[in-house]
Symmetry: C2
Subunit: 571 residues, 2 copies
């Protein structure tokens, strides 16, 4: 049995380790600058690939990420496995009911955003083949078809990741974009299959294009009806008949995803489509336990997704064969057509101008598919190196700009969030107070060290509010608050009383967790936002208990962040 | 960049899907028969590999698991990645303090269980080279060294998995076995490196043996001191400075494991040793959150570990070149030597005869390492096919018998467990009763349908016990019970009261969860066991709340099982 040598194994683990490390670090940095993590992950690949590392140290770059031999195959296999697993998670996160509700708009966006770039690209390539980098002797029709497809293709993985990173995935607009991208990709892959057929480099099994289309539709319909029904029946069975239900569900989900991927790859559309559909129907089942969902989600999002997105940049050197003029032409052409298609489609679907532009920019991102497509065309002698490089740069740039631009357009009003307001100085994990008055006194004392307000005035104004109506809101929670003249920004002090303090709550429970909320008098909305965020957090069961277990400020913050992250994704 | 064709991708996903499915199903079946899951997983590989599937349908077997080409490399890479990740988990689960405590015994077991088989194997091979399958013209010394190593090598992954499956991993005896296996493997790999050097087929970098040993010791010492210190410092930093602490910790753990694997593979010992050591020091840090631990553990245990163990059986056809006599000789020789070594070492370390035999059988399991070793010797022309097959069969059989035999020897007194006693008929999720007397009446009514005891007698005997001393034990729990004459086995009814019933608990809480425990009068231990299991379960915080959220018997059972599984692993 052919196996990896010790050298291959060393290189494989070193390459994976460095790739994962770089992708995650840059992903974190991107998030720090309020960009989607995927921007950093893509950049990691460009830095580690032939473009940057390969420029400064070609030997090391080729040692880590060789373009030939067992290690090239290994890396490609792991990247492919990664994207398939990522699409499983993206599928699980899909909310089918939203898709059904928004499907019509999604369909309109999908169709227009493929027709406009395709027509425009075809015409451009037909009349200006040499300018656009047609290979000498290459068939003009083939080149035009390819160029048209290259402009119209989109990247479901990149779009899904960007939306997830931005917390928009499960929103209405997110689901419109996802359904449009699914539609777009399906058509793109089928056209791609036609081109592959025309190029005579189709895979060995070589399904005819009609067969491919029939099988694709058949697969989708069967999975969404019979498959869905079967999974709804199987999950409870596994749940009750296995030694360890979580384990059985995780294995089941991954197994079915792998088999689905194999099936769609065989059909002639890409493997990721199969695992995506499997994800959709598994995620739709109410029998998928939260724990299973989280385990798969975390492992894939923090290991496989970064590996895949970073691996995209490894494939090419974006500097050799760099033709600035061609690159700019392709980039402008691609963006214009796709934006036009996306925006018009969304407007046709009845969306507001602002939302339509956001949809346009989302649809505009291309990713690995563009690079795979370009690679095949390059190998088949249809396009020249410089067009290939231009396509790759276009793919990476469009993927990178979609998130930030969408954020600007939707101008997500940066709400004041609790996690940005609380601070270690105002975290009092062991209140000594036993009465309401003492507790307020103890907390205002701490607050005054930070806000430079006379403690007696502060104490009095809070107590006044407290006496008129107690702020104990039950469940062991109290929210004493005041709006103050001299305050420039919101301040929240957090006090924990292990014994509990009587805040006269409606449920007669003693308050263990006290948030002292001070807001500027001229900014009424912040107080409401903070209060409603607290209310939202403590709607979850056992939240107070969870906070009581926090030993220090770090633990405390982690719980809030964790909750917010989950809610963001689910919102 | 060399990449997989569509056909390769199809085969890869199909092969992984089938392998995972088969491994998990057979693993579950093995557990059903109280065997470690690894027995089923190994068997899955034998069934799907050349031995069985290859015999009945050679084309399909070669299509799924080709021995040459990109798919062979892909599968090998994923199997290698899997075992490295599995060893990370095995490392995380190691309890360093137990290792320090039991290290001396472990060292004794390790040294004796490698010296005896090695000496005996060397002498046998030296005097009977042809009988034992030496290749014509092969160097006698080389053959003898190889045969000696083959007999003395052990399989840390298989041993760890078996111990985990049996719930013995973190016990004292488990840690003795693990530390002995680590020692054994380290020496084995070093001898292996010497043989590779003598064979002149050493890996390209070709570290000299002295260098290898120095680097191994240097790596271990550095990791366990400086590395450990660094990780203790890094984890809290990641925890507080990342957007999503869990994600950062997961990525960090995997990154370091990959890099550690690359390093040890480069040193000349196997990659798994690096990730194991990384796991040990990460798991030792109190900053590794339970959630991170669980996510990695579950994903690896239910996906990667089964894939790896099943892949072992794929490598060879254990039927061609099958030489029964040689196989039996090798098997007997291997078992005798290793058992002798393990048992004597354990006795020397002061263990009881029974425990020593368990240790011996644990150390006796060989796994993939034996097969890798054999494969290299076969390629180098040292051994003949029939010896290779004999070694493979010996490796698989010894791996398979160690779990069951250990279970027999330790004769884990099968305690009556709550999960085996409760039943859907005696699960009353909505008690109507509002008083203690009514609740007991309602539950005995249900119990009498199952146990054929006069309801009035039952009711009276429980009430009598209840009146003398209330069975409300606090935390919302009550355990009314009786020991009965006419009962053949223990019966437990479970009642849930959403409103709560006053069972006169010491903490004045109403009882929401009531276990009615009926045991035979002549079996006093069962009642104690059940009561103490319940006490153990409800020592965890929020357990009553968790049970109250159970909508049906299935949910209820899942919580108990989940708890027991966790405790088993941690016990």
């Amino acid at each position: 049995m052919e196996s990896l040598t010790s050298h291959n194994i060393t290189v494989m683990f070193l390459a994976l380790g460095i790739l994962l490390c770089m992708a995650r670090v840059l992903g974190e940095i991107a998030q720090r600058f309020h960009q989607p993590a995927v921007v950093g992950e893509l950049l990691a690949g460009v830095l580690l690939g032939p473009t940057i590392l390969g420029y400064f140290s070609p030997e090391f770059s080729m040692f880590l990420f060789p373009s030939q031999g067992p290690n090239a195959i290994t890396l490609d296999a792991i990247a492919t496995l990664s994207v398939v697993l990522f699409l499983l998670v993206a599928g699980i996160e899909v909310d089918l009911s939203t898709i059904w509700r928004q499907g019509k708009v999604g369909f309109k966006v999908g169709i227009v955003s493929i027709v406009i770039p395709f027509l425009f690209g075809f015409v451009m390539a037909w009349f200006l083949p040499r300018t656009l980098g047609q290979q000498i002797n290459a068939d003009r029709l083939l080149f035009s078809l390819f160029f048209a497809t290259a402009l119209s293709i989109t990247a479901l993985p990149v779009i899904a990741k960007t939306l997830m990173d931005m917390g928009l995935y499960r929103t209405d607009i997110g689901m419109i974009i996802v359904s449009a991208a699914i539609f777009n990709d399906l058509v793109g892959w089928m056209v791609f299959a036609i081109i592959l057929g025309l190029m005579n480099t189709s895979p060995s099994h070589g399904n005819h294009i009609i067969v491919t289309i029939t099988l694709t539709v058949g697969f989708s319909v069967t999975m969404l009806t019979l498959g869905r029904w079967l999974i709804h029946k199987t999950l409870p069975f596994l749940h009750s008949h296995s030694q360890w239900p979580d384990g059985a569900l995780i294995s089941f989900a991954i197994t079915i995803a792998l088999l689905g991927a194999a099936l769609t790859e065989w059909i002639g559309i890409h493997a990721i489509f199969g695992s995506f559909i499997v994800g959709v129907i598994i995620g739709d089942s109410s029998n998928l336990r939260e724990h299973t969902r989280t385990t798969i989600d975390h492992f894939v999002s923090f290991i496989f997704a970064p590996l895949f997105f970073a691996s995209i940049g490894l494939k090419v050197n974006v500097l050799t064969h760099f033709d600035f003029q061609l690159m700019l032409t392709v980039l402008l052409l691609a963006c214009t057509c796709k934006l036009a298609g996306g925006v018009l489609g969304a407007r046709w679907g009845g969306m507001s101008p602002r939302e339509s532009w956001a949809v346009g920019f989302a649809m505009n991102s291309r990713g690995a598919m563009e690079i795979i497509l370009g690679l095949l065309a390059l190998k088949a002698g249809i396009i020249r190196n410089r067009l290939f490089v231009a396509l790759v740069i276009m793919a990476i740039i469009t993927s990178m700009i979609s998130g930030p631009v969408m954020r600007c357009i939707l101008r997500q009003a940066k709400k004041k969030r609790l996690q940005d307001i609380v601070s270690p100085e105002l975290f009092l994990p062991e209140l000594k107070a036993v009465s309401r008055k003492e507790a307020i006194h103890e907390m205002t004392l701490a607050a005054c060290k930070v806000v430079k307000i006379d403690q007696q005035i502060l104490d009095a104004s809070i107590w006044e509010r407290e006496e008129s109506l107690s702020t104990g809101i039950g469940k062991g929670l109290a929210l004493p608050h005041a709006r103050l003249n001299d305050l420039r920004k919101a301040v929240v002090a957090v006090g924990i009383s292990r014994t509990g303090i009587d805040f006269d709550s409606p449920d007669d429970k003693l308050a263990n967790l006290i948030f002292l909320i001070l807001t500027p008098i001229n900014d009424p909305s912040t107080q409401i936002e903070i209060t409603s965020e607290i209310a939202r957090i403590f709607r979850e069961p056992q939240m107070v208990e969870r906070f009581l277990r926090a030993k220090n400020f770090k633990d405390f913050l982690a719980i809030i962040k964790h909750f917010n992250n989950i809610k963001l994704k689910a919102s």
